[in-house]
């Protein structure tokens, strides 16, 4: 399910106003006096691909420099858009013009002031044909960006654009250092991408040892005040098993736990004393994809039957040891766009059999498989290699569908083959996969009937005229209340149609050393306010300079 991670990209945060049940903390972090100093050591499971996040496509590269750069806007713990480098803004009612007022006290890490020119430059960089950025499309609807005065920028959009504000969460880049490289199309070779990234964030880049570690140090001139923790070290450790052992040996202070580690392997007093465990829903849902080009799956009753036949509670228990939430559609429970009033499919094999009978699957053969027109109901379910979760889900689905007389054969494939040869070419009957969901509810590329070509993302070939029109309206409407209505209706249809069988949203479960204070978990996770984390003086472990 590497694809799902990649899909997170820009959306490494998410949507919604949180309720208390959306996240939980194993032990309430105790307070203590705020103090400067100490080092926070985190683990990165893969080498990074560059230090300019605007041109890297993987999650870990983004994580490594998340503290070095800022956007004009950011998100608070409940995922609402809040000011960052822009102090305030004014969005025209038709969402076609946006005026942004920048903070006046912001400086790049090399001491140069941050101005409107840098905003225009970042826009030019993102839209320059020579820039190989995966986030180009975000800026497609921008007609132009101009400087009103050194601290005011005006953005004009080609058409009403729902994401008018959201896209300005993109990291701002320094014009005075990168202009030359952008013009030559050589951003990847710029020193800022490997040895010396310059941002405006709470931490300054200090050191990169390829394959070993990345070190950032507190920026004393940060506009929101100097961060408390003096250094943050990202250690690159490719093996999940090693990351966990390092955590137990206190070689690292923060790491994500697996369900097994959270539930069984960290449930002893010494660990609980040294670490606080957190838990919140990730922005990824697992699903069973059914190819609508297969006439059997083009019949909605068959898909609904599958939704009734698969016991999602069993699945969550078996695959995630309970560390997930049932998905009723493509939006995370608890987010502002989530609509709880949609058709649900509680486990009901009898109803599933009835639906299949309506669809013409009435007789059974000697093996107990349903038969229609002399053909038994069997299909091949594809899983990508290395996805333990995908494999386990598929095995449980296999057993549960067998109960209603449907035979499933599992086939494991290497990721690139799985994706290139089967999914993208639509050569599959069914596949166990996951989608990452963004902060914004726009999912045009996944559900719109125009997106069913090879290399496009509606690879199950779902087509529904009302869904098409809702998706089009959704991207052209910018008032949240109006959009809510549109996406509520979208979710009703998707729940009814089951274009894919929605299974569950998994949880993310980080553990952080208990000496670190100031962590306030929210729907967005815990990492949004690292600059406010601190370690009380008596508990500090590492000397600071």
């Amino acid at each position: 399910m590497r694809g799902a991670l990649l899909a997170l990209l820009l959306a490494s945060a998410l949507a919604g106003c949180a309720t208390k049940e959306d996240f939980e903390v194993s032990a309430a972090p105790r307070d203590g006096d705020r103090a400067y100093g100490d080092t926070l050591i985190r683990a990165l499971p893969a080498n990074i691909s560059g230090l300019i996040p605007n041109i890297t496509g993987d999650k870990y590269s983004h994580d490594a420099v998340a503290l070095v750069y800022n956007g004009l806007i950011t998100h608070d713990k409940d995922t609402n858009i809040i000011p960052d480098l822009a102090a305030s803004w004014d969005l025209a009612p038709d969402c076609r013009e946006l005026t942004l007022k920048l903070r006046k006290d912001v400086r790049w890490h090399d001491g140069q002031p941050f101005t409107a020119d840098d905003v225009v430059f970042t826009y030019q960089l993102m839209t320059n044909p020579k820039t190989p950025s995966p986030y180009k499309d975000d800026f497609e609807d921008v007609a132009g960006v101009d400087v009103q005065d050194p601290l005011t920028v005006r953005v004009r959009y080609k058409q009403p654009f729902a994401n008018a504000l959201y896209i300005w969460g993109q990291s701002m880049l320094p014009k005075h250092l990168l202009d030359k490289y952008m013009r030559e199309g050589k951003l990847k070779e710029a020193p800022q991408n490997f040895t010396n990234p310059i941002g405006t964030g709470p931490y300054k880049f200090h050191e990169l040892r390829s394959g070993e570690k990345i070190v950032v140090v507190a920026n004393p001139d940060y506009y929101a005040g100097r961060p408390y923790i003096s250094r943050v070290v990202y250690r690159i450790i490719p093996s999940q098993a090693t990351i966990f052992l390092e955590l137990k040996a206190k070689g690292i202070d923060q790491a994500d736990l697996t369900a097994l580690q959270y539930q069984r392997q960290t449930d002893y007093p010494a660990f609980k004393k040294s670490y606080n465990k957190f838990r919140y829903a990730a922005n990824v849902y697992t699903y069973l994809g059914l190819n609508h080009q297969d006439p059997r799956f083009a019949d909605r009753r068959v898909r609904q039957a599958f939704a009734y036949a698969i016991n999602k509670k069993d699945l969550i228990e078996g695959v995630r040891l309970g560390m997930a939430r049932e998905a009723t559609g493509p939006y995370k429970p608890g987010s502002w766009v989530y609509n709880p009033k949609v058709r649900t499919y509680p486990y009901d094999p009898a109803r599933a059999k009835k639906l299949l009978a309506e669809a013409g699957w009435t007789s059974k053969n000697a093996d107990g498989l349903l038969v229609k027109d002399g053909q038994p109901f069997t299909f091949e379910l594809l899983i990508s290699q290395g996805s333990d979760e995908g494999r386990k889900s598929a095995e449980i689905i296999q057993a549960q569908l067998r109960e209603i007389g449907v035979g499933v054969e599992l086939r494991v494939l290497e990721w690139a083959t799985f994706l290139k040869e089967h999914i993208k070419k639509h050569r599959f009957a069914a596949a166990a996969m996951a989608w990452g969901v963004g902060l914004d509810p726009d999912q045009y590329s996944i559900w719109h009937s125009s997106q069913t070509g090879p290399d496009e993302f509606n690879f199950v070939s779902y087509k529904n005229a009302e869904v098409d029109s809702l998706l089009e309206q959704g991207r052209r409407t910018c008032k949240q209340a109006d959009r809510k209505r549109i996406y509520d209706r979208l979710q009703e249809i998707l729940a009814e149609d089951q274009p894919l069988i929605f299974l569950f949203f998994r949880d993310t479960m980080p553990a952080v050393s208990s000496r670190v204070r100031g962590i306030v978990p929210g729907a967005i996770g815990i990492d949004y306010n690292v600059n406010e984390w601190y370690v009380p003086k008596p508990l500090q472990l590492y000397m600071s300079e």
Binding site: R2, G3, A4, L6, A7, L9, L10, T39, A46, N47, I48, S49, G50, I55, T56, G57, D58, S61, P129, K130, P132, S133, P134, Y135, K136, D137, D138, K188, E189, F194, R209, S210, G211, E212, K213, V233, R235, I236, I237, P238, S239, A241, T242, L245, E246, K248, A249, G251, W415, A416, T417, L419, K420, W435, G438, S445, D455, F457, Y542, M543
Partner: protein, 330 residues
């Protein structure tokens, strides 16, 4: 002999060319392209346009034969190109920063293996079916059967967590910069102990077995009988007459291990978080990073060819029965 070596080297060139051509073709056959990963495989936000831009940037839009020709042209000028991985750094630089630690690990490992397996092999061969021989036989099978990663995790738990004597992973402690010179050396060394131990364990089993087998054959030869008949001490018979001959097959195996020196072990490197060649290569394969794969391959293939030659030449030195015939006559 010099003539022979030269001839072998010249003959190696077409062989190398063939190896690179076949590999080049084969890696391009694998589904998936480097641009997929960078444009974000399943990222609903990545555009076909970004993909096309990357393809043109890397020359992947040209026919395969043209791509190979271009690559070859650069190679002749010793330009290995830039990595297709998102970092886009020069291949030689990437290999250069990974090579030293892998070489260090593997050379130390090989030395330990040879130093231990020769005496073990000799001892168990000269005392065949003794208790020692039986114990080493069991040890050898355990060594063959033990998965690296499992042994590594057990050792990490024991020495890293339970006893706390050794660091678990990485190459240096976080406070390395602030240590005195000698403490730095010890810190570095202590990080290498577990990986070397794990890597040695598996290799030792194989090598000591070869040594035992080879020694068993030699001690049955007539000249060993005659050496004994001359009244030489057993130590001299084994140490001087038998050992020299028994070492011959080991020379071949050692020669073939030379290219492996830069290969690096993926499992050991990943589990101990050591940024070495093994990790680089595996990542390159997953990312379809053709320049890095090919660059690494050229180096390994050249080394294999040279190592074969060196092993053949070394035979001549160790074994007086072998003579090299030059000037085309065979």
């Amino acid at each position: 002999m010099l003539w022979y070596a030269l001839r072998r080297l010249v003959l190696a060139l077409p062989l190398l060319l063939g190896i690179t051509f076949i590999t080049f073709a084969v890696i391009h056959l694998a589904p998936g392209e480097p641009v997929d990963l960078q444009a974000g495989d399943l990222n609903a936000k990545s555009s076909a346009q970004a993909r096309q831009l990357l393809r043109e940037m890397y020359g992947l839009d040209k026919p395969l034969a043209v791509q190979y020709w271009n690559w070859l042209g650069r190679l002749v000028r010793l330009d290995f190109g830039r990595s297709f991985a998102p970092d886009g750094r020069p291949v030689l630089q990437k290999i250069g920063e990974r090579l030293p630690v892998t070489l260090l690990l593997n050379i130390v490992e090989l030395l330990i293996i040879v130093a231990l397996s020769v005496p073990i092999g000799v001892y168990s061969a000269t005392r065949q079916y003794s208790t020692f021989d039986k114990i080493t036989t069991v040890f050898v099978f355990v060594g063959f059967a033990t998965p690296d990663f499992w042994l590594a995790l057990l050792l990490m738990i024991l020495f890293g967590i339970e006893l706390g004597w050794l660091p678990i992973s990485g190459l240096r402690s976080l406070n390395w910069e602030y240590l005195t010179f000698w403490r730095q050396q010890w810190d570095f060394l202590s990080h290498l102990i577990l990986p070397i131990l794990v890597a040695t364990f598996g290799g030792l089993a194989g090598f000591s077995r070869y040594m035992r087998q080879s020694m068993l054959e030699v001690v049955r030869q007539d000249y060993i009988q005659s050496a004994r008949a001359k009244g030489l001490a057993e130590g001299v018979v084994i140490g001087k007459h038998a050992l020299r001959n028994a070492l011959l097959p080991l020379v071949t195996i050692l020669g073939l291990s030379l290219p492996g020196l830069i290969g690096g072990s993926v499992i050991v490197e990943s589990i101990f978080a050591i940024p070495g060649m093994g990790q680089l290569m595996v990542q390159a394969v997953f990312e379809r990073d053709y320049p890095v794969i090919m660059g690494n391959l050229v180096i390994v293939a050249s080394l294999t060819l040279v190592a074969n030659l060196v092993a053949d030449l070394a035979y001549g030195l160790v074994d007086p029965r072998i003579r090299f015939v030059g000037r085309g006559r065979r």
